[in-house]
């Protein structure tokens, strides 16, 4: 008997190949894509109510995007060779495209859009600050200090075009992550054409929830009043997206159960045993049903502002836990059963090893540190934010 193994595993399957770091990868890229899509609501779809979170959402997306490749890099047996993916990409490999999708999104979409959005502030700060700060802002202007109304109109038009390109790019970024898993025909837990679309909607859910929480936290820290109209609107979009996400996940579940192919008995047993806590209790019950009920309640019952705020923030926090559990169940769950469908292994999460819990926590905290630096360098508080706050 091998410790942690029940039934029969092919001998090389006993040890899991993809660890908690690979769980972080779709989780983090999902937050990027979701935050960006929330930002585009204001820019492209003219949902003015979410304007106070526009800049915050862009900076959130950037902070997480900068960290997104790190768990992958840390996981590689030979991280020094990762650049080969750019030099000699294997065109039939879904994974080979990661670098290109990532670079496209980082440089063409996010950095450009952030620069255009903050250009006026950057130019002003390059004129009003001193010393090193001044030099930094001077560099950030990229030599363009024309902030006349004509120039700003051009910025706005270009920014709009980039956001329009950015929406399918955000879909590509996260749909692609889903494809990496969904296209593995050897693994029935992953292999479904629904995977990219499920990943995409869960990304939007987690990204919207993350920006909502960061907005509330920022307002608290800045001792500014939360714009309830904005929060109500974000919560409404969170609810709609979550309903679609939940429907897709249920569709996947019903489809699997009804089809009941040769893998079903094994996967069903896994969900009822090894994944019971993380999938049924944390992902479905705590991370999906409870927040959905909370959000649904705010749509049909008129609660006081304080109650609504508490419900939104509770729902948002549970969503973050639930989506993390979803990523965990996909990545780890997909390796707990044998491809012989005759046995199960266990995942032992180490603490201080390269792929252990400690680096995972550090990687999860890093985007928040980057976010703090970003909001220091590029304060996202527009006068719309202050106006909205003072108007309340």
């Amino acid at each position: 008997m091998i410790p942690g193994v029940d039934g029969f595993m092919y001998p090389n399957e006993v040890e899991l190949q993809w660890s908690v770091l690979i769980v972080l990868y779709p989780y983090i890229t999902g937050l990027v894509a979701g935050a960006f899509i929330l930002a585009s609501l204001e820019r492209v779809f003219k949902v003015e109510a979410v304007r106070p979170t526009y800049r915050l959402a862009l900076l959130t997306a950037l902070a997480f995007l900068l960290v997104a490749p790190l768990p992958l890099q840390l996981h590689l047996g030979h991280p020094e060779r990762s650049f080969e993916m750019y030099l000699t990409p294997h065109t039939s490999s879904a994974m080979a495209m990661f670098g290109f999708v990532y670079l496209w999104y980082l440089t063409v979409v996010l950095l450009l859009e952030i620069w255009l959005e903050f250009r006026v502030d950057i130019v002003r700060m390059s004129q009003t600050t001193h010393g090193l700060q001044r030099m930094m802002y001077k560099v950030l202007t990229l030599g363009s200090d024309n902030i006349s109304s004509a120039a700003r109109r051009i910025d706005d038009k270009v920014g709009y075009v980039i956001t329009v390109i950015g929406i399918p790019s955000a879909f590509l970024l996260h749909g692609y992550v889903g494809f990496i898993f969904g296209s593995i025909k050897a693994n029935p837990w992953w292999s479904t054409p629904l995977m990219p679309i499920v990943f995409l909607f869960s990304a939007m859910v987690s990204g919207i929830a993350a920006v909502m929480l960061l907005y509330a936290a920022s307002m608290k820290l800045k001792r500014m009043k939360i714009d309830m109209h904005c929060l109500d609107t974000i919560a409404r979009y969170l609810f709609y997206t979550f309903v679609i996400d939940f429907t897709l996940e249920m569709l996947d579940l019903i489809h699997r159960t009804y089809e009941a192919d040769e893998s079903f008995r094994s996967l069903d047993f896994m969900v009822h045993t090894r994944l019971w806590t993380s999938q049924v209790l944390i992902q479905i019950l705590l991370g999906t049903v409870v927040p959905l009920l909370l959000l649904a309640a705010t749509q049909v019952i008129r609660f006081t502002e304080a109650k609504r705020r508490a419900m939104y923030l509770t729902a948002g926090s549970l969503v973050m836990v639930g989506i993390f559990a979803m990523r965990w169940n996909v990545v780890i769950g997909g390796q707990l059963f044998s491809k012989s469908f005759l046995g199960y292994t266990s995942y032992k999460l180490d603490f201080v090893t390269r792929e252990g819990l400690l680096p995972a926590i550090a990687l999860m905290l890093l985007p928040f540190a980057i976010f703090l630096v970003l909001i220091k360098v590029l304060p996202p508080w527009t006068h719309q934010t202050s106006k909205a706050s003072s108007a309340d």
Partner: protein, 246 residues
């Protein structure tokens, strides 16, 4: 001999022209290949496994381990024992990949047999498809290999293999697997596992060699492959494969 710029340009041009029409390095440099030199294009390697002949001794696993310095706890080849009772799930075991053979069965009077496993050297290998840098490739003679000087150790191929034949080498941190003893078969030898099988349950076969007995065998016997529904076109063929085998 002085090498002039003219010589270099002449050689470079020759190399380019000949390379474009598929000339070998030997033809370009003028060196004649040895008459018995191994030509990849003349071979298409695979293996035939006769389940009825396997006695589960584990000789093949030990031979492979010694020949290829397979790290402890990982397997380029292994043997599974199936014990089947009517209307019940198969009971399968492979203690340490059967490197020490098998203990006696706990129940007698069961349908029981051994199934040697190894990389199937699939023609349409999912592992080759997913490798992000092409470090895993199929050689012109049909052997799926890993270039360990190029492998990133991302393990996407391990996930993509339906047969569980790959692992991350704990010291090299690159993916490792059965090479069909490429270092031996290209010298006219058979694989370590085939050589050490006391019953001839494993036979290295060359589908491109018209003299290979495999052609006659395939004409007169029914063979199967593992997980045919995966459409990977495995080149490891099994005689008498039971439907219970996964």
């Amino acid at each position: 001999m002085d090498i002039t710029r003219r010589d270099i340009i002449e050689f470079g041009t020759k190399l380019l022209v000949l390379a474009s029409v598929g000339a070998t390095f030997e033809q370009v440099t003028g060196a004649e290949p040895a008459p018995d030199a191994y030509k990849m294009a003349d071979h298409w390697w695979g293996m035939l496994i006769d389940i009825g002949k396997c006695i589960g001794c584990g000789n093949c696993v030990r031979a492979c381990s010694n020949e290829n310095k397979v790290p402890d706890g990982y397997f380029r080849t292994w043997v599974e024992r199936y014990q089947l009772e009517e209307d019940k799930l198969p009971v399968v075991d492979s203690p340490k990949g059967a490197i020490d053979g098998f203990p006696l069965p706990t129940k007698v009077d069961l349908k029981s047999f051994f199934v040697p496993k190894l990389c199937n050297h699939c023609v349409d290998s999912p592992c080759v498809q997913v490798c992000p840098v092409g470090a895993t490739f199929i050689s012109p003679d049909g052997v799926v290999l890993v270039d360990e000087s190029y492998c990133l150790g991302c393990r996407y191929c391990v996930q993509a293999c339906p047969y569980g034949c790959r692992y991350l080498h704990p010291e090299k941190e690159t993916v490792d697997k059965c090479t069909l003893c490429y270092h031996r078969i290209t010298k006219g030898l058979t694989t370590a596992c085939c050589e050490n099988c006391p019953t001839g349950a494993r036979q290295l076969v060359d589908f491109k060699n018209p003299q290979d007995p495999i052609h006659d065998f395939l004409k007169h016997n029914k063979v199967q492959v593992l997980k045919a529904y995966m459409a990977t076109d495995p080149k490891v063929k099994y005689k008498d494969l039971d439907v219970a085998v996964r």
